[in-house]
Symmetry: C2
Subunit: 311 residues, 2 copies
């Protein structure tokens, strides 16, 4: 009767998960309080000690658009770059790409959306035109031997269009992979997905590329992030984006929820026998540090349930 | 490849879930602010309008032990009892049973723990002696045609002993069923379970009685409640205890987390095509009402993400 339960499948097929910590970028960029550069650098340096292998450190976006990212070059230059850890950054245009080169960034991320209306409103172009636009970045990155990760946002629902067809998510994922992205991170930007809609979406994208090609990036706006991650592991997904202490949020959704909280994700994974290479106590410590600096409560229940472990 | 994913299993095998709303009892008894009786009555009356069929209204415990439950008889007498809804209460002893009879309570719940140490510290007896003690209540309930539900707490871990063997949970569940309970609610009292430990526990208890016999009662202390519910549905469980807005907590665990928030559970279930008969908007409204009365933030992300719908 129980020959293929979700936990059995995960134990047999997902021995380890690579966590992509997006707190310093996706997290902080949605926090109202602007932090000093030194605080951001200390935050990332603390994350580097946790065992994380992927840290999205900043976004080379204009400070006019996202003030919190105004010190992006100083942050990327100021952090201690530990061997074996990839420090990536969002690159929205060629100006941003130049910043990436100047700061010796080895991996960049470019973005797209599965919704035509969202793309029109945010980038003033169609989805296909957006992919064309990033091709100049892709070409330059290839020449400099910089890896490019692709974000696809609004994979479940769009604040303007509502429900997004899984086939649309598969289509832009395929376009970005053909353009040269090595990995696609699938974002439930407004956090409305449930295990069912998440599974339906994933089954469709898995038709266009192997499961190893995809990462998941879920927001916890409706409290579903961990269940959605569980349902994704059930389909073999093994790369998970998360923000320590659930930093961030989404300007389009009411409520203040950010990404899945890394501490809670790691707690679940370790409990399920899935390796992450992360020291949960050090991660909790990094979460407490940044929440104190922001003057906010941690959105990680694991963090709130535990005392400060390292002074 | 995907012939038996968790969401497929649920869609095929768990067409509906019965939610047991424990907010007025397990939720409120762990809230510091003592509410007026009229507020509790209005809270329960609002819950009665949501489509819920099971509401645990109070506990016939001494006010000396749990001051919030000091008006238990007045609450049970004061609520509007809607046909088709079961209003249950905890009964810890024969004095409590007399209160149940006086208030025409049609279903009661008795408690036990899967941990010998927890049982010793809380009830000053062994697990087996505890089951013997409730037999007088069971006998009296049978005579009065009152249904008895059994709680088994600390099914994953105990604050004194640590990890609890699944076989111990199966053993006390079987004892309580033999003593006459119609249903056993399995409580992860300190909320430390993960989908894996939850599944291992459930597989063991499902050896002693059919899946329909068991309800699950998970606390969200470590943010795992929804994932744990998903993993439980994956084993065919279809009765879920929850507290609107995640009211309550556990005095033994750090952090302030209570039960799984009913709004978030219902959102997930409806998203997965599972019927609950509950109107989510009215449920959110009841959650906003009680949180305002308690002067606290809702622990339901669904509730926090939505505006007040009914004035």
């Amino acid at each position: 009767m129980f020959s293929r339960t979700v936990t059995q499948f995960i134990k047999r097929n997902v021995s380890s998960v690579r966590i992509v910590e997006v707190g310093p970028r996706d997290g902080l960029q949605n926090e109202a309080k602007i932090l000093p550069t030194t605080t951001k650098i200390e935050f990332i340096n603390r994350l580097s000690k946790t065992g994380l292998k992927n840290i999205e450190a900043t976004s080379f976006v204009s400070a006019k658009w996202i003030p919190q990212m105004g010190d992006n070059v100083d942050v990327m230059k100021g952090i201690e770059k530990v061997d074996g850890i990839t420090y990536s950054a969002i690159v929205p245009n060629m100006k941003g790409f130049e910043d990436a080169v100047e700061t010796k960034t080895t991996e960049i991320a470019i973005g797209g959306s599965a919704s035509e209306t969202f793309t029109k409103k945010n980038f003033n172009c169609t989805i296909a035109e957006g992919v064309e636009r990033v091709k100049s970045i892709m070409k330059a990155a290839k020449e400099k031997n910089i890896k490019v990760r692709g974000y696809v946002s609004t994979v479940i629902s769009c604040p303007y269009e509502g429900k997004i067809k899984p086939s649309e998510v598969a289509k832009i994922s395929e376009m970005l992979l053909k353009a040269g992205c090595y990995e696609i991170s699938l974002g439930d930007t407004i956090g409305v997905g449930t295990p069912n809609s998440i599974s339906e979406m994933l089954k469709e994208v898995l038709k266009v590329a192997p499961v190893e090609t995809f990462a998941i990036h879920y927001h916890d706006t409706y409290g579903q992030a961990l269940s959605n991650i569980l349902a994704s592991l059930d389909l073999g997904i093994s790369v998970v984006d998360a923000s320590v202490s659930g930093l961030g949020g989404c300007p389009y959704a009411r409520g203040a929820s950010g990404n899945a909280a890394t501490e809670d994700v790691v707690y679940m994974l370790h409990g399920c026998g899935v390796k992450t290479g992360i020291d949960l106590e050090l991660l909790i410590d990094a979460g407490k540090f940044i929440c104190e600096e922001l003057g906010r409560q941690s959105e990680s229940k694991v963090n709130r349930a535990t005392r400060k472990i390292k002074p």
